[in-house]
């Protein structure tokens, strides 16, 4: 019984982390039709920035609780600086090109960012475990979980709720939906598509960075940490359906539960169980769970 509980709890925690990252990926794809292979590197940037900022805060001897604010601040900073930089400096020259070409562009960007991270932060690992343990543990039956994990889950729910309100409840969200639906018509109707793209990519970057910043206290921040994350995030959004927010949520839950189930019951298959699920979902639903295949008009 407690094993099943552990699978569920671990799965949900893992899913929360995945959701925050994947939702940024799916948002950028939905609006801009860019499957961003550099998303994992943006995640890593968030983690590094968080480790640096929170580390500096803690070393300065200020109130440890403030380190949480530093994590969030780091993510916002990365989003606001790096997002516009990439969108204005590179991506805007590629709009209108084939989706596959854009994948290649972001792959090149991924290569560049991986080394930029090494050049800025070096190749050694960063640890900031304090925020992880600071809130103590909570007992669930025979299991003990750090309260920080609950923070992760809460953050994911908050991100989901805010995005939902942002997209369905605000004027800007309606513009976004219009651009998702038809870029040309939106532009013709007077929507500033370029600005929508800028805001979207900044938001997407921020979401990746939040994922990284919140993860930073739970892992060692090392070069290459984005490399595996990006393929996990791909699996999530491909399962859910590229561009679908609900899909990202469901995909994250599926991947989270599959992985924690595999870890507990079949550790041999842990690594590839996720991709197996992805391949199976695609075999049945070629566009993922939440997106229907479209017919071509001739």
């Amino acid at each position: 019984m407690s094993t099943i509980l552990a699978v569920l709890v671990d799965g949900v925690i893992y899913a929360s982390w995945l959701f925050v990252i994947a939702t940024g990926l799916t948002l950028v794809y939905g609006v801009m039709r860019i499957l961003n292979m550099a998303h994992g590197s943006l995640y890593a940037l968030g983690a590094y920035a968080a480790a640096s900022l929170a580390g500096a805060w803690l070393r300065a001897g200020w109130a440890p609780m403030g380190s949480y604010a530093m994590l969030v601040l780091a993510a916002l900073l990365v989003g606001l600086v790096v997002g516009p930089l990439i969108e204005r400096g590179l991506l805007r020259f590629c709009y209108g090109r084939d989706e596959v070409v854009l994948v290649l562009v972001t792959y090149a960007l991924f290569l560049i960012l991986e080394d930029v991270i090494k050049l800025v932060w070096g190749v050694e690992s960063y640890f900031i475990y304090e925020p992880y343990g600071l809130l103590g543990n909570v007992e669930m039956g025979a299991l003990s979980y750090p309260v920080y994990s609950a923070v992760l889950v809460g953050a994911a729910v908050l991100v989901g709720v805010l995005l939902r309100i942002g997209i369905y409840g605000t004027r800007y969200g309606k513009l976004l939906t219009a651009v998702i639906h038809d870029r040309e018509v939106s532009a013709a109707m007077g929507i500033n598509v370029n600005r929508v793209y800028l805001v979207t990519f900044t938001l997407g970057t921020m979401l990746a960075a939040i994922g990284g910043a919140l993860t930073a206290p739970t892992v060692s921040v090392v070069p290459g940490m984005g490399v595996e994350t990006i393929v996990l995030a791909f699996a999530v959004v491909v399962i859910g359906g590229l561009g679908s927010m609900q899909g990202a949520a469901l995909g994250a839950l599926i991947v989270g539960l599959v992985r924690s189930g595999a870890v507990h019951f079949f550790p041999q298959v842990e690594l590839f169980s996720i991709y197996l699920v992805m391949a199976l979902v695609l075999a049945v639903r070629p566009r993922g769970l939440f997106v229907a295949a479209e017919a071509r008009k001739i």
């Binding site: 596959v100 994948v103 290649l104 562009v105 290569l111 690594l271 590839f272 169980s273 695609l282 070629p286």
Partner: protein
């Protein structure tokens, strides 16, 4: 002279030069060229896929399958010679693609790229957890002979190099011939307009499937050659970043010429060995920037520079 004859002649000259140059090359250069050719084989397969309008971020799957098949085959089947090992590598990869192609051939664009990536990651996950194959460490692979010549003998030292060169020659000439055939010419037609190809009476899915198998066979041969040249294989060969490197070579080379992937791969290996020595942490930065430059300014690949010059000259 037909373009096919010209290509064959050009590649033949290249093969001859490689043969004559072999005794003059230092050991590291022999190794570098062998590795480059092996990777060029994978990129050559990608060239065929790209002509069909597909980019695979999962060629590492077939690369690794070929390498592991050669390695396992040499032990389990007691293959002492490099030639059957390479053959086994190519055939295994082709068989894997024949199976996966049943599913993959239904996908296009980013979905094809992602699904092939997922399959390669499945193999990676399997290899990492299979202790019989050395898990993350992999295992050593060695052939006792090449073309029947002992590896340690004077001529045998050039054996793997020669084998790689012959494989590349055969693959490039074969692919060139294929691309010029009625069947091969359907590839760009499929890329441009699948619907019309179906309306002209051909099965797009079968053609994509066939091209997947051909590309996989080449990647498998490349993997087996790499295994023989390096003497060691590990699961990293199936990891998605390995596949990404092949895509890099293919983009750099463009799809215009069957010789380009090999030129691109040699360039990549030269740059890499140079970068590793002088600036190990900027290697990917250079690669990424080069790739961006090619995508933005030379959409047909570096090779198009030569073509443009030739066109300007005539």
């Amino acid at each position: 002279m037909t373009s096919f004859r010209r290509t064959t002649l050009g590649l033949g000259v290249a093969l001859l030069v490689m043969g004559l140059a072999a005794p003059l090359l230092p050991k590291w250069a022999l190794f570098l060229v062998t590795i480059a050719i092996a990777k060029g084989m994978v990129a050559l397969g990608l060239l065929l896929l790209m002509r069909t309008g597909l980019v695979s971020f999962g060629q590492g799957l077939y690369f690794a399958a070929g390498a592991y098949a050669a390695g396992v085959g040499s032990q389990a089947l007691d293959l002492g010679d490099a030639v059957p090992m390479v053959l086994l590598g190519g055939l295994t990869a082709a068989a894997v693609a024949a199976g996966l192609g049943l599913l993959l051939a239904r996908y296009r664009a980013i979905f094809f790229a992602m699904l092939s990536l997922a399959f390669s990651m499945i193999l990676y996950g399997l290899l990492v957890k299979t202790s019989a194959l050395g898990s993350t460490d992999g295992f050593n692979v060695a052939a006792r002979t090449v073309f029947g010549l002992p590896i340690g003998s004077t001529l045998g030292r050039y054996g793997v190099y020669a084998l790689a060169a012959l494989c590349a020659f055969g693959a490039a000439v074969g692919l060139d011939r294929y691309l010029g055939s009625y069947l091969g010419r359907l590839a760009p037609a499929v890329r441009d307009n699948e619907l019309r190809v179906e309306y002209m009476g051909a099965s797009v899915r079968n053609l994509v499937h066939l091209n997947l198998v051909i590309a996989a066979a080449m990647a498998g041969v490349g993997g087996a050659l790499t295994a023989l040249a390096v003497g060691h294989i590990d699961p990293e060969m199936a990891y998605w970043t390995t596949s990404g490197e092949f895509v890099f070579v293919a983009i750099l080379s463009g799809t215009a010429s069957v010789a380009a992937p090999f030129a691109g791969a040699v360039l990549l290996e030269l740059l890499r060995s140079f970068a590793y020595e002088h600036a190990p942490n900027t290697w990917q930065l250079v690669m990424g920037s080069a790739m961006l430059a090619v995508i933005l300014f030379l959409p047909e690949g570096l090779w198009s520079i030569f073509r443009r010059r030739r066109r300007a000259a005539t």
